[in-house]
């Protein structure tokens, strides 16, 4: 570590060859005599030389970087997806730069700007309601959207319809004639709208009267809405997320009621604290995997924009 940083040039004269030869070796070209290649590789390893990313980027006009923009760093579901994404990215010799949109379109735009300035090759974006065409304009072929979809952009979405359907069926099969619902209006249109609409639809199909309340994604909202919505006679409740369910359950337990709760998420905390809750897993890590694979292949030109649906699983 004492030496200053070596350059391609240094390696070249150290090996007694030209710079381009070294360059070819680095880029795994087959246009180098085997003997020469091995000698150069030996010196490179011995000297611990690594090519300058900055120079490579300047020369090739593209950074080997992929931007990943989550809505919130402390989102349990997005965390699971990220855990699948990052290894993929690193494995393909890319670096990742992780950012947080906080569900703010303005902040998202700023982040996309930074990424554009950096000339990053691709972006994985966790969607929310503020994400529209104008924001992702110019990223069409190098952007994968997770959890929400947009025309002209590759996306990986969850099976929200299936998740609610499963829970509703389980409740009905357990003999419940009425099922309440607590969801969200704000933030993510996927979580909010689709799940709610599916609930309404299932109610109609099952001949049930809908009984729902919508709020935000917080514990407190779940608690407050439960208080306004439920009664001692409520038999079953479906919550749009584990966080909401956590709040609702607190209220239910305080009242000493016996209500069957179903929730979407299946976070470790929920399964630990409330193993009786009916839980649907949305396949977050799988979504991350698919999204990063898709993006990588799109950048590689071996695949085009797609629309992938991740199935949910009941446990």
């Amino acid at each position: 570590m004492s030496d200053k940083k070596l350059t391609l040039n240094d390696i070249a004269k150290l090996c007694g060859v030209g710079k381009s030869t070294v360059s070819l070796v680095i880029n795994n070209s087959d246009k180098v005599k085997k003997a020469t290649r091995e000698r150069v590789e030996a010196i490179i390893k011995e000297q611990g030389y690594t090519p300058s990313k900055a120079a490579q980027a300047l020369r090739s006009q593209r950074e080997k970087i992929i931007g990943v923009i989550v809505t919130r760093l402390d989102s349990a579901s997005e965390n699971q997806a990220i855990r699948a994404i990052l290894p993929q990215i690193y494995q393909h010799e890319y670096d990742a730069i992780l950012m947080e949109s906080l569900l703010d379109p303005t902040l998202l735009a700023a982040h996309l700007n930074v990424l554009a300035q950096r000339n990053v090759e691709g972006v994985i974006l966790f969607g929310f309601s503020g994400v529209d065409k104008s924001l992702v304009k110019g990223w069409k072929d190098k952007l994968v959207l997770i959890s929400s979809a947009l025309p002209e952009v590759a996306s990986v979405v969850y099976d929200n319809v299936g998740a609610v359907n499963v829970l509703m069926e389980k409740m009905r099969d357990a003999g419940h004639r009425s099922v309440s619902y607590i969801g969200v209006t704000t933030n993510d249109p996927t979580t909010g709208n689709i799940r709610y609409q599916t609930y309404l639809e299932r109610c109609a199909a099952f001949g049930m009267t809908p009984h729902a309340a919508l709020g935000d994604l917080s514990y407190q909202s779940g608690y407050d809405l439960a208080k306004g919505l439920l009664t001692a006679e409520s038999g079953a409740l479906i919550c749009a997320s584990d966080t909401i369910a956590m709040g609702a359950i607190k209220y239910i337990q305080q009242q000493g009621w016996k209500i069957k709760v179903g929730s979407i998420g299946s976070t470790p905390l929920m399964t630990f604290l409330q193993p009786d809750v009916l839980s649907v897993k949305m396949g977050y890590q799988q979504a991350g995997l698919k999204a990063s694979q898709l993006l990588l292949e799109m950048l590689h030109g071996t695949r085009t924009q797609e629309h992938i649906v991740i199935p949910c699983t009941f446990q």
Copy 2:
């Protein structure tokens, strides 16, 4: 967005000035006549020109990037710190690249390597027991360690001693003659050792008999250890973290016991679910703030390595 990317050169001839003049304007040098500066700035804005980061980096031999390495992306405490760090970094025109060490020294080394290759200017590192001198060698003047300390490296640490002291005093003042403790052996030596040692010390000072169990940072560990450690006669329990406390409380409630619990962390979930728990806040966001400020000033050369202690607060 239809034009190809403009370069400094394009702007220069568009303004009818030399490239260096434009460069000076970009870098806010005062060596430019006001009239010229304004004209150039106008064109720059009008054309939406942004300098190439890659070229800047190559030329100046340093990327305006700061690496942030957390132990786990889903750590609530580290998340709070990050929320304070990122805005600081962006505000100073740096970009952040966020990585996860998973408490694995090998992975950490790999990440530091990547950052070194990228020539990042500085690193903020969340410490754990595997972090030693050899790993951070070569980063001495551009690395700030959070939550653990090392000689020759700037660091920001939490007041673990104070936190345990506060809880022990509250317990004693509430009349408890015996206080149990559930902590951790693994991972973070700070969380583990210091808190445990302080507990033992306080017990001695208060003439109490220590009654402790150590495990890992999971809910389950808290639950299991509580089962082995507590009895119906236990009056008070201190947990080294909210996660552990969550597990212990579940066991306590199952038994129907009445035990006063104190915990370190004060996460939103804990204060929502268990408002009766005695909670000590460690000042995570403040630590993030201090750490990023310190690093930025170190890079700026206006400050040298320091060792900062963040006070804890009881609520």
